[in-house]
């Protein structure tokens, strides 16, 4: 691998890798703005990953697989929301429970259906369609990086714009933000903060389901724990992105790059593989520390 071409494939895969982070974080942004710490992103993604690939294989349709995978994730989100909001359980505990449930149910079902607790390959599964626009691809460097990904990558970009419009341009978004900032104000005008929180949770179910579908469908396989902490990193991306869609997009790009780098750096650099594999997580910790330092000074600044 020559030195000059090394960064391009690495950046190309950055774009591919960041898509699930981005979708999960955008969903989590809605719950965050509605005033809830949604730690269930990881579990909802996992459920989406499992059911989308299983249904895609069973129906022979990628599209149906994705739709049913999202449906499963939204259903799990509803249960999570119902227990947290209507039964008033602690949202951290129910989020944790959702994650543990997702981890368990996917393996149990995999074993029941396929008799296998490990990696389940679906050999006949169609690949996710790839968008290739030759005219754009001819643009040097940028064309190689941005074009030629599967369609869901581009869907995730569209979702950034859609999320921004919903949050900032619609009455629904105004009410979601009002709910998080002062639920009492929303209640005083006769709206139900609980209802808007439920909507936010269902939205996070939708985007996490799609995020999970990308993970499993691009591999054509389900691996137990396929999400590997991506839901948690998405949660960090929400804060790092300063709770805005564009900020989240940039934060997810950083995390996508970190993972891509660690994939390429294995073998290329003479550093223990364990260290390289932990690179995305180290980046997360450093980013979080940096973010809180910046926040600290910003608060101090506005105080005086």
């Amino acid at each position: 691998m020559s030195n000059s071409s090394f960064p391009v494939p690495m950046l190309h895969s950055t774009i591919r890798i960041m898509a699930p982070f981005l979708l999960a974080a955008l969903g989590g942004l809605f719950t965050e703005l509605a005033g809830m710490l949604n730690i269930a992103l990881e579990g909802l993604m996992l459920i989406g990953a499992f059911f989308s690939v299983v249904f895609a294989a069973a129906t022979g349709s990628l599209f149906l697989g994705i739709v049913l995978g999202i449906a499963a994730s939204v259903a799990a989100a509803y249960v999570f929301g119902f227990i947290s909001l209507n039964l008033r359980a602690n949202v951290f505990i129910t989020g944790l429970a959702t994650n543990l449930f997702a981890e368990g149910i996917t393996v149990v079902l995999a074993f029941q259906i396929f008799g296998n607790k490990g990696v389940i390959r679906f050999e006949n599964l169609a690949r996710l369609p790839v968008l290739s626009i030759p005219s754009l691809q001819r643009i040097p460097v940028l064309g190689d990086i941005l074009v030629g990904h599967n369609v869901l990558v581009y869907v995730s970009w569209i979702m950034v714009v859609v999320a921004a419009i919903i949050i900032y341009k619609t009455p629904f978004g105004l009410r979601i933000r009002g709910t998080g900032s002062n639920p009492g104000a929303v209640e005083a005008i006769g709206l139900s903060p609980k209802r808007y929180r439920m909507y936010a949770i269902l939205i996070s179910g939708f985007t996490c389901g799609l995020a999970g579908a990308i993970l499993s469908l691009q591999m054509g396989a389900f691996v137990p724990g396929i999400t590997a902490g991506r839901g948690w990193i998405a949660l960090v991306a929400i804060y790092l992105g300063n709770k805005t869609p564009l900020g989240i997009f940039i934060a997810c790009m950083v995390f996508g790059f970190a993972e891509s780098f660690s994939n390429y750096a294995q073998g290329a650099i003479d550093v223990p593989a364990d260290f390289i594999l932990s690179f995305p997580y180290i980046i997360t910790v450093i980013a979080m520390i940096g973010f809180s330092i910046v926040q600290h000074y910003r608060l101090k600044g506005s105080d005086t």
Binding site: P171, L174, R175, G178, S181, A185, I189, G190
Partner: protein
Amino acid sequence: MAYLQMHGITKLYPASGVLANDAVDLSVEENEIHAVIGENGAGKSTLMKLLYGLEQPDAGEIHFRGKHVAIRDPLAANRLGIGMVHQHFKLVPDFTVAENVVLGMEPRKQGLFIDRQSAVKDVTKVIEEHGFSIDPKQKAKDLTVGQMQQVEIVKMLYRNAELLILDEPTSVLTEQEIESLFATLGNLLSRGKTIILITHKLDEVTHMSHRVTVMRGGKVVAVRNTSDVDKRELSRLMVGKDILLQVNRGPTTYGDTVLEMKEISIRCRGQERPLLDRIDLQVRSGELVGIAGVGGNGLAEIEDVIGGLRGATQGSMFLNGVDVTSFSSEQLREAGLAYVPADRLHRGASLPSTVRENCIVTKHHDFLRAGVLQRRDVREFTRHLIDQFSIAASEGMPAGNLSGGNIQKMILARELSGQSNFILFSEPTWGLDIASSQFVYEKMLELRERGAGVLLISSNLDEILGLADTILVLYRGRVVGRLENTDTLSKEIIGEYMLGLRDDSHGPHETNQTEVRRG
């Protein structure tokens, strides 16, 4: 029929057993300012919550503009044309004024998006029509308190409210802001609106209202034309006749000073008027000092300072001769403070914890052996307190399962078990039934006879008059009256001090000057 007619409104809060509204009638005419006055706990706020649909009455009917109406929630109230300006503002700090106003009734374009331009335009129109001084594009968090209140009023006008309920609107305002609020009310009146003004400030009633309904103890005691009454009569109606407590307050001799406050003040940044203004206070052993006042005039702040929960910005405090001004609540307790707080459910007790844990929490060190609580000692101690104070509870029960009266008995048992020579009681019988109140009174007098110094902070004048040797009255953070409790002292007189009609301190500045001259 009147514009608004509330008839036979009754509301019982089952959790506390308080009958907040007892067959209340309220009749408001179109285009008048109708004041509803009463002391804290008289039932004014409850009545308004029922009118605005925040709560549902147990009995009674509401007729509005000639129609029998059921008001299920604030949206229903808004649809009828009823709007409420809450005492504590309900604004989203990060939203602009316009966003706060339109929230929930956003103007739309293409059916999907907020039409920001017409939102700003509509809000500007309301603001200009009524002469408010707010910018629709400013963030709510950057507004002054008076401006926030304007936003709340604009919010209701934007919703086409014809009847506006203002719940103690001046309690957080400065003098200038009060003036401009009064101007606003006049303007609203000239535009045909009807206003219900909830307050316990007599100045506002006589200045602003056409008619006044006086409430006491959940009932309506009088309805008057404002022009026909003076402040003294209103104050008499508010506090009612003297009720003699069934207690025997024998003579005691005063000993050494146990608690002393010297010129204690609390000032908040950005607020003109101090919350406490140079309070001098002395409690001697064998003396029961009562502090009276309407809520919001400094009673809670005095409680907080003595309890160590809030530092004074000026002045000093001594407990048994020790300077305790900067002590934490833990240090104060070590220095001999016993304290029965007004907020017994949160500050006085831990409801999920057991009676046992609640009883030993202030002295759990005494039950340690090698760092481990001695279960048997703890049980024995708790059982002893349960017997002695006849608390209807078992020691292992969570305190939250007890009735209000028994929770208070449990707190008393704990606080009095330490044999402190100074005990602070704040609103000790609020919400208690007669038997439990009687029990509390007897305990207080027992302490006094034992030679302890007792400080009673209470907005209940009957108990102040029945129990205290010396009475201090607070008004706007100042001691306006310092009275010996003799036979000639009556509730009416204290009431006049409480409502600012009498003032022995001659205002905040003059006291200062006399002291300067003396020095």
